[in-house]
Symmetry: C2
Subunit: 165 residues, 2 copies
């Protein structure tokens, strides 16, 4: 598959919420997301990794900025039932993504994206990938710099920048 990184997208309308150190047992993810779904809040990225301590996990997700405080309220009220240790939340974030077909079979694309952001001193707070897209959560203030750096890194002349949604 020829790699075609065809564009860069960004989204400044999201906020991130992370629940640290939840018990890594069946049912926890369902308990966390059910009340959020019941409130009709659209969740965008959901990511989970193991926590540093064995038997625990860290779960992070993004929601529209407009739903940030409502979601935070819901998560705070279920933190005890879920057994989470703490909540990290940040509204001043942006999601920058590169999109293209065939990216998956070229693992250098991800490394190139991370290097391009590193060269500009932009810290990556969250990463999530799919077959056609690699997304990084960064500080909102670096959005324009990140978009430009990614254009240069992937030789996209006429910036095909689309703001998501």
């Amino acid at each position: 598959e020829r790699v075609v990184v065809s564009g860069v997208t960004y989204n400044k309308n999201e906020a991130k919420i992370e629940i640290m150190h939840v018990p890594d047992v069946p049912g926890i993810a369902a308990k966390l997301f059910k009340p959020i779904a019941d409130a009709n809040i659209v969740v965008d990225m959901i990511i989970q990794t193991s926590s540093t301590e064995k038997g625990f996990a860290d779960v992070a997700f993004t929601v529209p900025k407009s739903d940030f405080s409502k979601t935070l309220q819901i998560v705070k009220s279920s933190l005890k039932e879920i057994g989470g240790k703490e909540i990290n939340a940040d509204e001043n974030i942006a999601k920058v993504s590169i999109v293209g077909v065939g990216m998956r079979s070229h693992s250098s694309v991800a490394a190139q994206m991370f290097s391009a952001l590193a060269k500009e001193g932009i810290n990556i707070h969250m990463i999530s990938t799919s077959e056609i897209k690699i997304s990084c959560i960064i500080d909102a203030k670096y959005t324009e710099l990140a978009v430009r750096a990614l254009h240069d890194a992937f030789g996209l002349d006429k910036p095909e920048v689309t703001e998501e949604r």
Copy 2:
């Protein structure tokens, strides 16, 4: 958008590697993935969340089982340079995913998937989402049970099960 969960896919050919507690500073993700890319190893899911301790992050990813020990070797040799604390690795995993258009705007779809797996006592080790797909990493031994449970949960009569790749 009408939610259309059109199918369930699974992939038993992957292995997961997690690098715990890396410094959350620019350049670390690039240092981690560059040598893996240079070895032409195709990385599938990449996810990163913050670590429990402020200033650190946990990064996880999956590679084809056939590249598992080679990748582990590479990661072990760069662990010091990256400043990671430890590596978790597991070959006995499977990725189960639900796919469909319009999933993003229906946050109950994710909660339903997590509940369906919880009802069967299946623990979710990693989660990653995109606009058209929600993927969970589970123990390989539960693959068939998970696929059946997800079919039932989303009312998919004629199982449209596809094994990825």
